[in-house]
Subunit: 260 residues, 2 copies
């Protein structure tokens, strides 16, 4: 049985301020909770139906500080979803890797003011799929630990490092180290025809405003996904999650070609 205080605390973790104060965040859903457990991510609390807990492998709870079997009604009280799943967990945030140079050693994604949690989650999922492990966000991006981001990322978040910083400074550091910056824009050269390296920063802009004016001059290669439609009406852009998927795929394809 969950105490009133605990219920109140877990609900309060829907708020960014509280998450940041306690360095904790929430994950919800059988699949994602199982994946965190399998990956050995330390969980502060596992709150789940008794059937869920007993279905876990023997040593699954090694990295779980406390586990609490609860009823569906109790899960409903703490869930951020309309229809709660069988399990929810409170997870300790990893210490962020703050050494910016480490984000520049391999391929890196830079996000400028991404606002929609679904888009951010999709970008994380696509990045993880294509082996990109470094994501650097402008400070006005949506919080990576927002429950909707976590949901859309489908657990992929445990495979990427995420840093919030002033993008201008970060891109400047990259520029000093001669790291190429690939910016995705509606006007640019077709991504299919450009030289794409296996290192560099892929810069993605805000959903409606694109890349900020004060970051544009850092771009070495303007990437555009060609449109094959015979009209622009109703097809004036792809959303940033779709664009990211296509761009990461094309970089990965080139990498695989280079290895043959």
């Amino acid at each position: 049985m969950l105490s009133k205080n605990k219920v109140r605390f877990i609900i309060s973790l829907q708020k960014r301020k509280v998450r940041e104060e306690y360095k904790l965040y929430i994950i919800e859903g059988d699949k994602i909770v199982k994946e965190y457990i399998s990956a050995g991510v330390p969980l502060k609390s596992l709150i789940a139906k008794p059937e869920f807990i007993s279905s876990l492998p023997k040593d699954a709870l090694k990295e779980v500080s406390e586990s609490e079997p609860v009823s569906y009604e109790e899960l409903k009280k703490i869930s951020g979803l309309k229809t709660p799943h069988n399990a929810l967990a409170v997870v300790c945030m990893p210490d962020p890797e703050v050494n910016q140079a480490n984000y520049l050693k391999t391929q890196c994604v830079a996000l400028d003011c991404i606002q929609d949690p679904g888009n951010f989650g999709t970008i994380i999922r696509a990045a993880a799929w294509f082996g990109i492990k470094n994501i650097v966000c402008s400070e006005d991006c949506v919080d990576v630990y927002n429950p909707k981001v976590i949901q859309a990322s489908m657990g992929a978040i445990i495979h990427v490092k995420v840093l919030y910083t002033e993008l201008k400074k970060f891109l400047n550091t990259g520029s000093e180290k001669k790291i190429p910056v690939y910016g995705t824009m509606l006007e640019g050269e077709s991504i299919y025809d450009q030289k794409l390296g296996s290192k560099g920063i892929i810069l993605l802009g805000n959903e409606s405003k694109g890349i900020s004016d004060d970051l544009i001059h850092f771009i070495d290669h303007r990437l555009m996904i060609p449109r094959f439609a015979d009209t622009t009406l109703g097809i004036d852009s792809l959303n940033v999650g779709m664009a990211a998927s296509i761009i990461f795929s094309e970089f990965a394809r080139r990498k695989s070609l280079a290895k043959i």
Copy 2:
């Protein structure tokens, strides 16, 4: 001022049954309504704030049977959104193209039991971007006129033909005409290495179950998007909207190569 009956009728169009009975559907949002008007799609009613209506070009209302200026409060009553925009319209469904052979003349997407409106909308948007105009859906796919599909497609829906039919029969017809079927699966050959033709059916399966067992044997080419991650934990799939975007992009890239 909207009559009570009209308010009730517009709200009832959130339901598939009512939409199908009256052959009408709803679009919401300044941008999408403007795009429908620019594209000359006939609107049965335009319900919008007076400022919105007066901001339209002179001959914009040619294809609009009736326009009704309303207050924000009235828009709120009929809107399916938490925060309504400035305009909503009731649109006449086009007569569906029922001749299946016409869907096979150029590239075509076949959807097997796509359930999530957001995914379906994304697929339509990606198809339209890459110049694919034919979409054939199994009868258990979500309704293309579901307001969430329309929202996610961002207006791209006016550029595609959509047919609901028994997919097995449709694929059979394709097979008789020797139209190749490309099926997207987790096990298959890398899409980067396969021959991809500019004609054919791209078959996408259900979000969790993939392509139905009784359709698998129609597949001539099993397409897989290679994963570049060093683990599968938390990265066991891409969502179907992302997968569609990547696949359509790769087909388009090959088409553009063939033309050079």
